[in-house]
């Protein structure tokens, strides 16, 4: 569809949904049906998170987005480059460096830096993964690895915005917000979009899970692993569940009486939110209580394991355990209907100390992520749960200092597993030194288009009119990568 007519079409739907309070539910449903998005039961103006049907039948129902902020080094993890190793210490041809910019590397001095990591073929598919991530490698047959992701932002926060929002611009909704907006939430007791961090969050902070110009209903909710999992989830001291119930009963009764006078449906909606909050108060602790998990499961993820001496900057002493717990929590959330879980972890920004810190990070991430994929598969959940590994960019094949690499947005690796993804595949090929794509380049917007597609959403149709223009996750671009879809 031409963007202009898409826009008109969208505006009408916006009109219909936003003015839904005045329309009969059935009339609304019939209108939405024509538009290709249906609210089968509930009225969206009363419950903006009511589950909605997708544009077409997609396999994925939930997404666990493993966001390795900082820029993990793809040439040391996912994209083996023997030629880079043989050309270690040599300069890049000046012509290749002409139009590129780096955050720190000085062009005139920069030399190629080979990888110290060993790669080997994994799984039946035989895709190569580095020895730093043997466990993830062992899941190779589930994974579609894309080696040619590229963007144009070479600083952290803008790069993170590109990945989360489709454009390096603040104020736009993030991926999870779009999924919630497009599909609603399946969970009656938990937020539909959750963010988990262990230790250090991403440098972009809350803009990485913002709903932008969409209402905060669609915003990511930070689940915390210390104190209340959700902010202010616990009752105040001296208030027990019975007290809270009685207070809510009184609130509900008084709201109802006021509603009888003012006849404003917003009042009932407020009461409903209080009831949801009350349910969340028991559902969230139940979620984070891991006592029902078998020891085998806990061990598989690495719950309780020790963190090696944290010389990597800013790591606390239990990061390994916390990261494992977050991966397990993500599975428990999917089981409970949470739509989008963002596991955010920063510290992949190795301008120096690459050898040690990358190994340390992989030690943290490899086991729990692999356990998550296996666990989902074993429980039959991998078919409709999409697992993504990604970052705002990768790292230069050029060295920085003796033991570091700079930001590299021109070609880096991301992967997907489950949720309708074709496992055991590699998509895209970079040149001999891993500098740029030579075959099947995938822009970040293409990746996003593919992600939405797996959920049955057409990225060009999922748009909202903002300040006179249709805004969508994939900005003005985006092509679905059919090769990685089953």
């Amino acid at each position: 569809m031409h963007p202009l007519s898409e826009y008109q079409h969208q505006t009408r739907r916006e009109f219909l949904t936003t003015s839904a309070s005045g329309l009969g539910g059935a009339a609304l449903t019939s209108m939405l049906h024509q538009e290709g998005l249906a609210a089968p039961v509930a009225n969206r103006s009363l419950n903006p998170l009511a589950a909605r049907e997708a544009h077409f039948a997609g396999k994925a129902k939930a997404c666990i987005f493993i966001f390795m902020a900082g820029g993990p080094s793809q040439v040391d993890l996912y994209d083996p480059k023997p030629v880079l190793n043989t050309r270690n210490g040599q300069k890049m041809p000046a012509s290749m460096l002409k139009d590129v910019e780096f955050a720190f590397v000085k062009k005139d001095k920069a030399v190629l830096k080979g990888s110290l990591e060993r790669f080997r073929k994994r799984g039946e598919c035989g895709v190569e993964y580095s020895d730093l991530i043997p466990q993830i490698g062992s899941c190779a047959d589930e994974i579609a690895l894309i080696r040619t992701v590229h963007g144009e932002q070479f600083n952290h926060h803008p790069g993170q915005l590109l990945l989360s929002c489709g454009k390096a611009e603040l104020g736009r909704p993030t991926i999870g917000s779009w999924l919630l907006y497009g599909l609603g939430s399946e969970s009656q007791n938990l937020p539909g979009y959750v963010v988990l961090t262990a230790g250090r969050g991403a440098s972009g902070g809350s803009s990485n899970w913002s709903s932008g110009f969409l209402p905060s209903t669609y915003q990511g909710v930070s689940f915390r692993d210390t104190g209340d999992p959700v902010l202010y989830l616990s009752n105040p001291p001296g208030v027990h569940r019975g007290n809270q119930r009685r207070t809510l009963d009184a609130i509900s009764r008084l709201n109802e009486l006021r509603s009888g006078k003012m006849r404003d449906p917003e009042i009932a909606s407020r009461t409903a939110q209080y009831e949801l909050a009350f349910r969340m108060q028991s559902a969230a602790p139940e979620l984070t209580d891991l006592s029902g998990e078998t020891q085998a499961t806990l061990d598989a993820y690495g719950i309780g394991r020790k963190t090696p001496h944290p010389t990597a900057d800013m790591q606390s002493g239990d990061t390994y355990h916390r990261y494992a717990a977050n991966c397990l929590l993500a599975r428990r959330m999917v089981e409970r209907g949470v739509r989008f879980i963002n596991i955010v972890h920063a510290s992949w920004d190795q301008h120096g100390n690459l050898k040690h810190d990358l190994a340390w990070n992989c030690g943290m991430a490899d086991q729990p992520i692999a356990a998550l994929i296996r666990d989902l598969k074993q429980r039959g959940m991998l078919d409709d749960t999409l697992v993504v590994w990604g970052s705002e960019f990768g790292r230069t094949p050029l060295g920085q200092g003796g033991d570091g690499r700079d930001h590299h947005p021109f070609a880096f690796s991301m992967w997907m597993a489950g949720g309708g993804v074709k496992g055991g595949t590699v998509h895209g090929q970079t040149d001999d030194v891993g500098w740029a794509p030579v075959h099947n380049p995938v822009h970040v917007n293409d990746f996003q288009a593919t992600l939405l597609h797996l959920f049955g959403l057409e990225h060009e149709r999922l748009s909202v009119n903002h300040r006179g223009l249709p805004v969508r996750l994939t900005n003005l671009d985006g092509n679905v990568i059919q090769d990685v879809i089953n």
């Binding site: 955050a103 600083n155 207070t247 003012m262 949801l276």
Partner: protein
């Protein structure tokens, strides 16, 4: 039965959508016709392409002959216009547009009427200067208070509707109080207003509230949304912006002293260019220092400078002109008549601004505070670094004895050095250099010139060098004592560590230590790693603090004098792809700019924006004011008055208000007063059956609106109800309590969050420190802006997290505790206390059924807390009263917490 209901609903929906036949007077080219062309035709028949020789973006082309010889539009003759045949064709191969849905019956009707009218290509309504409209007549003039009501009622009467009755006086005062000052009216004021039957009673109250200093806080905050005000710079580092709050206070004061709106705008855009600008006028230019700024290392400065300029342009466009001018950054605006070149001409006004941090004259306190904090910081830093240094030495030498040995060795070297300097001093300027090696010279911190002089044999020194050495000689004394000071015994070295005496002496000297001491030394050695970690951590923390030191300067803008930049058109908005050079200018669709000097500057721009001839500024401004008093603007797209924006619900009223504002010399308080004195404002917000279908969104204003108050006001009302609110106006930001899980989120630099002391911490929500990457959660949960971009309209969401916040956030719980205490201290009588709470919080009394529900709660809680006295004490917290039994006090907290969590409490209705 159900089916019949559905069909009826559907028919009503269609009736609303189609709204009957198109009336001739209804058709406006820019509003109705151009969007159809833009959305459905331009792709093939517009500026970019002219398929089959047909195009609609220029009238001459649209009415000319196509390749086929047919004419798409024959003005005045719809029957002869090929366009109408094609859009209504049944044959799909004939029909236009070829893709997507058919044009609607209404769209075709609009085209037909417009062609019949002669197909004029007229300007969009908002690009034409508003003229004072005639006041329409109304039938039911009895319900009219002022001109506003004529406009509203005339439209209602045309649909067979009337205004709603006035809301009752108590609720009216609550509404007015929330709208004008954002605080609850005092129960006593409600009472006296109810009893004041004089004609001027309401006007007096309005005047009183407009004169309150809280008015500036309430309305200043609305402006701060547009100004993207925040206390940090944003992006990865998100550093503190020192004294950002001074701009915030300037805005508050401007509202309070009722500064004319045109001056308000001029000073913010170009205060620095005024004749001998005052400090206040320079603070006002802080508006365009509020943009996000990337201080991340390794960025391309030019790239981010460009982004900042773009933000300044877009903010100016959105906040003052209601234009989505930002579209022009990458391409000519698709719908509004702003070309990409014109965008960069607008950009040129800002392209030579310089960020200037100026000292605050006469604010000795600030400077002293900064110096004091800096000194304290340096002392602490030095101490921490010596700690780390010492621990590193321990680590290196692996045992106390070896450490002492190495220290003795170092001390010997320092002593030798010190001795040699002293010898040099004794020898005098001519002889002191004998035997000094070059290495030593460097070690002593001698400058190059001195070293050169020293290395030259005495008899060969130039006069210059001799003089230099003479001059330098006295400083050797300082050097000697400095070196001497480095000689420190183990005991002295250990002082930085805060160890207990016995351990210290065991570490300092060997031989006589006891078994206990040896054990302590062993333990100490084991703890080295964690002590080192702690010290490193503390140093990092301290570096955070440095960024928060109260720097005594103000962020302002000035105009560059030297090295002025030329402005270029940027191809597709890319800062690296420069197109032709452009000069500062305003879009051609508007009246031309008048220029004072040789080149147009920001002051010319500011004056152009607030000139009486600017068609947008006054309309956009009154629309903002209106939206805060009715929950929605007359133009509901407050940020877009362009062709893609919504149409005004009452265009004549909008123009009338705009003209009033300009002719009152931009008197903001007068405008607000006129609006709130209208009958339209004073109506009840109760929903009406008869409006459900004809006006579900309350665009016609046959009633007032109900809506949840903004994030900051939710907090203010809670504090207000608990009698906790500290009413101080202005000043540095505050930090109410937050869980450490929140303050720890900051990325490189943890959010420094030292909870403000009492009563500062009970100040209003707009004073809370706003960190862009980690904002105060109880504000953002209620849709406070993220403050990264100009925001003209807040969302109003309703989520479970909001319920958790007002029920459980300790800041809000404290308000319930405080209100509970107030209630418990009222004269005896459970029911009368409950009614007291109703009057205090809701400005009304409860109905019997409501009282019953709260009585039931009170009794149940009293019984339960009677059985659980420990829990009662916990719930009461710091708000106990020795005269009130805990079970009763706790039950009152429960009642208070319930009332504060009612929909009605946080709703302006």
């Amino acid at each position: 039965m159900i089916a019949r209901g559905l069909i009826r609903n559907l028919l009503m929906v269609l009736a609303v959508l189609i709204t009957g036949p198109v009336m001739a007077a209804d058709v406006d080219f820019a509003r109705d016709i151009q969007p159809i062309f833009a959305k459905r035709c331009f792709a093939c028949h517009g500026p970019a392409k002219r398929e089959s020789g047909v195009a609609f973006h220029l009238r001459t082309l649209a009415v000319g002959a196509a390749e086929s010889g047919e004419r798409a539009i024959v003005p005045g003759n719809p029957g002869a216009s090929e366009l109408l045949d094609r859009v209504t064709a049944d044959d799909e191969t004939e029909r236009m547009p070829p893709k997507g849905k058919r044009l609607s019956v209404r769209e075709v009707g609009l085209l037909r009427v417009w062609i019949r009218q002669g197909a004029p290509y007229a300007k969009h309504w908002s690009f034409v200067k508003p003229a004072r409209p005639e006041i329409p007549d109304v039938k039911h003039s009895g319900s009219v208070q002022n001109e506003i009501d004529h406009f509203i009622l005339a439209r209602l009467e045309s649909k067979g509707l009337r205004l709603s009755p006035f809301v009752d006086r108590a609720k009216l005062l609550r509404r007015l109080s929330l709208d004008l000052v954002g605080l609850l009216p005092r129960a006593a004021d409600v009472e006296s207003f109810r009893n004041d039957t004089s004609e001027r009673a309401y006007e007096n109250v309005v005047d009183r509230l407009l004169a309150s200093d809280h008015f500036g806080e309430r309305w200043g905050r609305h402006w701060l949304d547009l100004a993207r005000y925040a206390d940090t710079f944003g992006y990865e580092r998100d550093d503190v912006r020192p004294n950002a709050w001074r701009y915030r206070d300037w805005v508050i004061n401007s509202f309070n002293r009722n500064q004319p709106f045109d001056q308000f705008v001029i000073e913010q855009l170009a205060g620095d260019l005024l004749d001998r600008p005052s400090l206040e006028q320079r603070i006002a230019t802080g508006l365009h220092r509020m943009n996000i700024k990337n201080n991340e290392s390794g960025i391309n400065r030019e790239d981010y400078r460009n982004r900042e300029m773009v933000d300044r342009v877009n903010t100016t466009g959105t906040a003052l002109l209601g234009l989505t001018i930002g579209c022009g950054q990458c391409h000519s605006h698709k719908y509004d008549p702003i070309s990409q070149k014109e965008y960069y001409q607008f950009y040129a006004f800002f392209n030579n601004v310089e960020e200037k941090d100026v000292d605050i004259p006469g604010t000795f306190d600030d400077r002293a505070r900064y110096q004091h904090a800096l000194t304290a910081y340096n002392v602490r830093k030095k101490r921490l670094e010596s700690q780390k240094e010492l621990l590193d030495e321990f680590h290196k030498h692996k045992s106390p004895a070896r450490w002492r040995d190495s220290l003795a060795e170092i001390n010997r070297e320092w002593a030798m050095l010190s001795k040699r300097i002293e010898t040099a001093i004794d020898k005098g300027p001519d002889g002191w250099t004998a035997g000094l090696t070059q290495v030593e010279s460097v070690a002593w911190g001698l400058t190059k010139d001195v070293v050169a002089a020293v290395s030259t044999p005495e008899d060969k020194r130039a006069n210059e060098q001799v003089r230099l050495l003479k001059k330098f000689h006295p400083s050797l004394k300082a050097k000697a004592s400095e070196v001497f000071a480095r000689i420190r015994s183990p005991a002295q070295r250990l002082e930085v560590l805060d160890l207990d005496e016995s351990l210290k002496s065991a570490l300092a000297a060997s031989g006589s230590d006891t078994k206990e001491q040896q054990a302590a030394v062993g333990l100490f050695w084991v703890s080295l790693d964690s002590r080192l970690d702690d010290a490193r951590q503390a140093i990092r923390q301290l570096s955070v603090q440095k960024r928060h030191l109260p720097k005594p300067y103000l962020m302002t803008l000035t105009e560059a004098v030297k090295n002025r930049r030329r402005t270029h058109f940027l191809i597709r908005g890319d800062f690296k792809k420069k197109g032709e050079e452009v000069v500062a200018g305003t879009p051609a669709v508007f009246r031309p700019l008048s220029v004072r000097g040789k080149v147009p500057d920001r002051l010319d721009l500011a004056r152009w924006i607030v000139s009486r001839d600017n068609p947008l500024t006054a309309r956009v401004a009154v629309n903002h004011f209106w939206s805060h008093l009715f929950g929605s603007g007359i133009v509901s797209s407050t940020d877009d008055f362009g062709t893609q924006g919504e149409l005004p619900s009452h265009s004549k009223l909008l123009d009338w208000l705009a003209v009033e504002l300009v002719e009152s010399d931009w008197d903001r308080k007068q405008l607000i007063k006129t609006i709130v004195l209208s009958a339209t404002y004073q109506q009840t917000a109760r929903r009406r059956e008869d409006l459900k279908v004809v006006d579900p969104e309350n665009r016609l204003l046959a009633r007032q609106s109900r809506f949840r108050v903004e994030a900051e006001i939710v907090r203010d009302l809670f504090l207000n109800a608990g009698d906790l609110l500290h009413p101080k106006i202005g000043g540095p930001t505050i930090h109410p309590a937050i869980p450490s899980a929140v303050s720890d989120i900051g990325y490189k630099y943890k959010t420094r969050w030292i909870v403000s002391s009492k009563p500062e911490r009970y100040r209003r929500g707009l004073y809370i420190y706003f960190k862009r990457t980690n904002p105060y959660p109880s504000l953002t949960v209620f849709d406070s802006p993220e403050s990264n971009l100009c925001l003209a309209k807040r969302n109003r969401s309703n989520t479970p997290l909001q319920a958790l916040t007002t029920l459980n956030d300790p800041v809000f719980v404290e308000c319930a505790q405080a209100l509970g205490q107030v209630l418990a201290r009222q004269p005896a009588g459970t029911e009368s206390r409950i009614q007291f709470a109703a009057r205090k919080c809701l400005s009304r009394t409860f109905q019997p059924e409501e009282v019953r529900a709260l009585l039931t709660l009170y009794q149940a809680e009293k019984t339960w807390y009677g059985q659980h006295p420990d829990e009662a004490v916990k719930l009461i917290g710091d708000y106990k009263d020795k005269n009130v039994p805990p079970r009763e006090a706790a039950a009152w907290v429960a009642v208070a917490r319930t009332i504060l969590n009612l929909d009605e409490f946080v709703t302006r209705e």
